[in-house]
Symmetry: C2
């Protein structure tokens, strides 16, 4: 009654038009087949990080804007973030990333929680940008972080976790590689080449985009920033790890850090690390170690995700600066990678069998039979459409349910039911215990 009235009003209001069935621009609907794939991706993530003892945390997607605007001048905080005023005049944002949230929570934690802290989360994060391949306005992002602990050990562990997750998805170590760098190396290079302090941020931003532009454009941009006297030797040095090591020496702390990491990971059996001296990563808070995982596929050689060390972020919230390292792995780019390499999980259905009711008066008994089968640990779908048997079978097949069980008055009297394997078309008359056994054995 009431909803009919509403519908009437709406129809008059909108000139008989209907509301769109599309979601908001740039976000996704997860129909069950997509949701099953996503949940399986989350399961691989959870299983991989829990092997290392990481504990799950979460928070609201609504955060005070101040925790992002702290990084003032940043493109992410200002232009790409959903910033709103609430009704009480508070500046609130939909989180564009999780790191400020975990820093807030770690700073505010119960002091009985002692270091090292290993936490993970799979939040949805929001970016106000024009949707394109691999970039949407909302995606899920696995966040893995270690607070405290020996920094070089924590850095190495983070890369082991990356390796565990990627191979957990079935990727081989030739499918991806990990670029690593230490930002202090760049700082030392800037110092050596006397790059003016006020230009450093722009030079770093340019380096961050190096892969996306041609060499000519890069060189021109660098020259316009620092002049050709600096830009030419600088570009040459930055083109090769060997030149960097020659210039700064093997005892440079950043270089020692990078080489140490490569050795530690080799010792652990991970050999797909590459020293990339121009690697910067977007976030301002990274202060030394940074890394980026990329797809080695020659046709799709692009960045998948990355992370780094941020030792001062908790200092925004408390006087205690807790050293930290971590990364964020987005689901959209990951799903593209898994598809490219044919390792995207297939969608699953929870139902082990579907009961097809052959006469409509039997539903009360059908539910009792279903309850018994469920007590044996199986998941049972019941078709309550009252449609013809053929239509009911079609629905079970389209839902990828492996078995159909036919029940009518006669079957209920005899306690024998026809079980059909919808994949092989094999059909057998069985009692309940036998049905449970056949279905369980086929799993």
């Amino acid at each position: 009654m009431t909803s009919k009235a509403i519908l009437g009003t709406i129809q008059r209001m909108d000139n008989n038009s209907k509301l769109s069935t599309q979601p908001y621009k740039g976000v996704r609907d997860f129909y069950p087949k997509d949701m099953s794939v996503l949940q399986q991706i989350f399961n691989v993530m959870r299983k991989s990080v829990e092997k290392f003892g990481y504990l799950e945390y979460n928070a609201s997607p609504i955060e005070p804007s101040s925790i992002y605007q702290a990084k003032s001048g940043d493109e992410i905080a200002n232009e790409q973030t959903y910033n709103f005023l609430d009704k009480a005049g508070r500046n609130i944002s939909l989180r564009p990333e999780m790191t400020p949230t975990i820093a807030r929570m770690i700073a505010g934690r119960d002091q009985k929680i002692s270091l090292p802290i290993r936490w993970y989360s799979i939040p949805n994060v929001f970016r106000y940008e024009n949707p394109q391949r691999g970039r949407l306005r909302e995606h899920y992002q696995l966040n893995v972080d270690i607070f405290g602990g020996e920094p070089e050990i924590a850095n190495a562990e983070i890369l082991m976790v990356v390796h565990e997750i990627m191979t957990g998805f079935g990727a081989s170590t030739t499918d991806f590689a990990i670029k690593i760098n230490d930002r202090t190396i760049l700082a030392d290079i800037y110092k050596k080449f006397e790059v003016p302090k006020e230009k450093i941020k722009d030079v770093s931003r340019l380096l961050d985009k190096k892969e996306k532009v041609s060499k000519t454009i890069f060189d021109e941009a660098l020259e316009s920033l620092v002049g050709s006297e600096i830009s030419k030797p600088l570009a040459e040095i930055l083109s090769s790890p060997e030149f960097i090591i020659e210039t700064l020496g093997i005892d440079n702390p950043g270089i020692k850090n990078v080489i140490g990491l490569i050795e530690k990971l080799e010792n652990y059996g991970v050999t797909n690390l590459i020293f990339e001296p121009t690697l910067v990563r977007g976030f301002d808070y990274y202060n030394s170690f940074v890394f980026e995982v990329f797809d080695t596929d020659s046709e799709n050689r692009r960045s998948l995700f990355g992370g780094g060390r941020y030792d001062s972020l908790t200092g925004l919230f408390s006087n205690e600066e807790i050293p930290a390292v971590g990364f964020g792995m987005g689901d959209v780019v990951l799903q593209d990678f898994l598809k490219t390499h044919n390792i995207l999980p297939e969608s699953l259905t929870p139902a082990d069998l579907s009961i097809i009711s052959v006469d409509q008066n039997s539903y009360d008994d059908v539910y009792l039979v279903a309850r018994k089968i469920r007590e044996f640990g199986l998941n049972v779908d019941i078709d309550i459409s009252n449609k013809k048997v053929g239509a009911q079978i079609k629905r079970s097949v389209s839902n990828s349910i492996p078995f159909a069980l036919f029940i009518g008055e006669e079957e209920i009297r005899n306690k024998k039911y026809n079980l059909k394997d919808l994949r092989t078309q094999e059909e057998k008359q069985l009692n309940l215990e036998e049905i449970v056994e056949v279905v369980k054995n086929s799993k």
Copy 2:
């Protein structure tokens, strides 16, 4: 370096003050101990509904506001919803409930998805209200819905699912009861008593709040709405199911619906249903069957959650009106209920053991040992703090990790390690295979 600079700016800006570590007003931070409880609650929900073959779906919390404003005049859509303009001038909302979203998705689905459709989701939903016990600005809400199928069977199944979930949490059927009603009964009563059409909505709203006000206030409010000639007999009739049945007769469709439900559920073994003729439930879109689960605890006799039948909501989005029934079960009120009845799940830790490094030069070897133990399917935490052994043990205990494994240079040479059960203080020297066996057997 960079983050130090930021920190400096912020400190100057805010007169050396720090940002708050508190979350936004009315939302929760989930520290790992809380998150573990929440995940276990979600697991009970998932397991219970998947027994019945429900498929999980999800969508973005950002929705076009139009899908809520359709129910214009509704307090939820207008005053209690986070409504914003995006930068392109679109009206967007943070979803206050999931039903309009599922109706949108069902209306827009691939037509190969045939009825009945059983879907569930555990979205976070947002309400702009002043936080109080059981009511926050964001909570998680299990949504369970059936689209299509025989309506009376679907209604009954929804109550079976409710029963499955509640008992899945360990609640006994005396801990809760389910009030049921059919809104068409009320419509028939209004007709019989000639309640003016323009007063019906207000009378229904008053009934919805009946439990929250005294009898005197209720009677006065009803009288002021419809006058004493109608209000007195109406209040009397509404006070008892027997009077309702007497007045409308046993063949009234709504009454038959309610009695049929009670019989079906009794047949299934569920006997805690109560016919409550004044039950309305807040949402305008419910058109017949409604229900509400409540805590029977005499000190906390309050509504836990509810649902009902909404047969026209997909009509907002398409010409096909698909009959539907479902409910939403919020986590905050549920957690209060589980606490009251001492059945709140305890928090768990993923790590099966923590490696305590007795000298700092062994970390490379420690990680190799950990890798081997992980290959046996155990989750291994490593303390990389370089602190004294006592402090490392304290950390493991406070993280509820059951075992500590002590590793130094000597242990690595001998391939024998001390394993300590942190609950019993028992300590044994074992090789890797023995360690795995002991830890697995203690699970």
